[in-house]
Symmetry: C2
Subunit: 318 residues, 2 copies
């Protein structure tokens, strides 16, 4: 039996290999999503950073370039969430990944529209709420993940088995995964699929600025840290902007002070416009293991080979 027929994530999402290219702010538009979908995994457009017109353009371009399943990731903490969902539905998207909000808000509605719904969770408690709300699968995302993150600070290693115990629906693992070997580890912990974000930032098709991609390749020099815990916790590459955040936090600065420093458009400035000094660079810890900028098709092929090799190597342990 191949994965495509035996694996619940492959069956649910109609993909060949149980891997999701994460929808991310500023870096995952139609180019990356199409490349991912055409490689046999789930391609995802990240709606978080897009106004409605831009989201419409990305979805239309993506749908024109692949007949494979495509999803839209909608963080529920921005304005226009409902309009984004309505727009994606109208254009023909039938797989939604929701995050940063309650799974109760849109799941019933989306299920009635015939959609598949995945929700991102940072705790077993939230995973159970997702299952109760009718979500089809949960993405358990650990402390090591880039961008917005849970307050529990549970790492993937500790989170995945707890989520696996809490629900019957399929569990995908996210946060800290960039290779096929790490996918094998996720499966050992009870996951049936994996979502990778950081790894796909460093691809030819990602719309991350070349400066940001270059910084990701050097990430082991800088490190990443979870910060802004008085606002919404977010993991950033430790660039000069992060150092300013850190200085405020070290002296116990307030949420207001952090909000003022953050201002508007920091993530766009860093991730899309490439401002190393002043931009906010959302990236996962696993950037330290990312050393190249492959085409997505080549990357997915490599991950599949690594996954097979890792499962084979485990087999030889007696």
């Amino acid at each position: 039996m191949t994965l495509a027929t035996s694996n619940r994530v492959c069956a649910l999402l109609q993909i060949e290999f149980p891997l999701i290219q994460a929808g991310m702010v500023w870096v995952s538009g139609h180019k990356l999503a199409v490349a991912a979908a055409n490689s046999g995994i789930l391609g995802v457009i990240g709606a978080g950073s897009m106004r409605l017109e831009l989201l419409e353009a990305h979805i239309q371009k993506a749908l024109a370039q692949t007949s494979r399943p495509l999803a839209v990731n909608v963080p529920l903490l921005y304005r226009h969430t409902e309009e984004q969902i309505q727009l994606a539905l109208r254009l023909g998207i039938r797989i939604f990944i929701t995050s940063a909000g309650s799974p109760r808000t849109y799941t019933t509605f989306l299920k009635k529209e015939g959609c598949t719904v995945l929700h991102v969770v940072s705790s077993p408690l939230l995973a159970k709420k997702c299952e109760d709300a009718g979500v089809d699968a949960v993405i358990a995302e650990g402390f090591e993940a880039g961008g917005h993150n849970g307050r529990e600070e549970l790492t993937s290693l500790v989170l995945i088995p707890q989520v696996r115990e809490a629900v019957q629906i399929p569990v995908l693992a996210a946060g800290g995964f960039s290779t096929g070997a790490s996918m094998a580890a996720a499966f050992a912990l009870g996951a049936e699929g994996v979502q990778m974000g950081t790894r796909f930032v460093a691809t030819q098709e990602s719309s991350a600025h070349p400066n940001f991609k270059a910084a990701v390749l050097e990430a082991s020099r800088y490190g990443t840290k979870l910060c802004m815990k008085k606002l919404v916790p977010v993991r950033l590459l430790c660039n000069p902007f992060y150092e300013k955040v850190h200085a405020i936090e070290e002296r116990g600065g307030s949420a207001e002070e952090l909000t003022a420093l953050l201002g508007k458009g920091r993530a766009k400035e860093g991730m899309l416009e490439g401002n190393w000094e002043e931009g906010e660079l959302e990236i996962g810890q696993v950037a330290a293991l990312v050393r190249d900028l492959p085409f997505t098709a080549d990357l997915v092929l490599r991950i599949r080979q690594e996954f097979r090799a890792a499962c084979q190597a485990i087999k030889e342990i007696d």
Copy 2:
């Protein structure tokens, strides 16, 4: 080929199964170390919390009760480190696990005395220094671990592959491991063995106070947090004492203020004497997955069975 003959950690430590019962403050004396050793894994006496006379008594009792290999864990940040090492050597200990200091300090000396030396690392850089210093194997310990922790905050999932790449000597994984399934995950990431601490706190033979053991079994209600980052970062169960630490840190309190709150004997008060309100309870995130207080022999048997089952399950993925 069985693990005991094919695995480098088994060969190095002369054990049946590549698992180490971590040496910990206040909870891992002769009873736990002997039970672990007699179960076919490495039993370790944690010297960190012991005065010389107490350490001598524990080592003597342990050696009288098993002919299997025993190790002593010596954190290099306390007084009497050198006397502890000399004492253990004189009594016949030949496996040392050092941590919280430079691998250069004692490795050459211990190797000349015919000892095996393992050092605990929280970064690939330190792992390389260990190898250069002549250390026999490194224990890569992630952010999720209990007690003292690295400043890098690298989780096990992200740390292990980096350490694996950095050195040729065997890598053991620590931080977040409590089951045979998690051991299989560690092996997928490149580890050749695992060290578990938190899991062994909750055994019949650990000398943790019954109140502390009970709190570990309820840990998913409380959670754990890495704190005291202005002193030496330490992961604590979120009890009332932790809340006091957190309050100081939230308002940017100084290292001096934290030192004053900490005072003396907090860990003993919590872990050995069972003071829930005022004690410092060092424990790993994985406590959330610990739900029983087995005898060590039964626990090790279970972990071996789980490990085999997890490897078997991975094998069946195609």
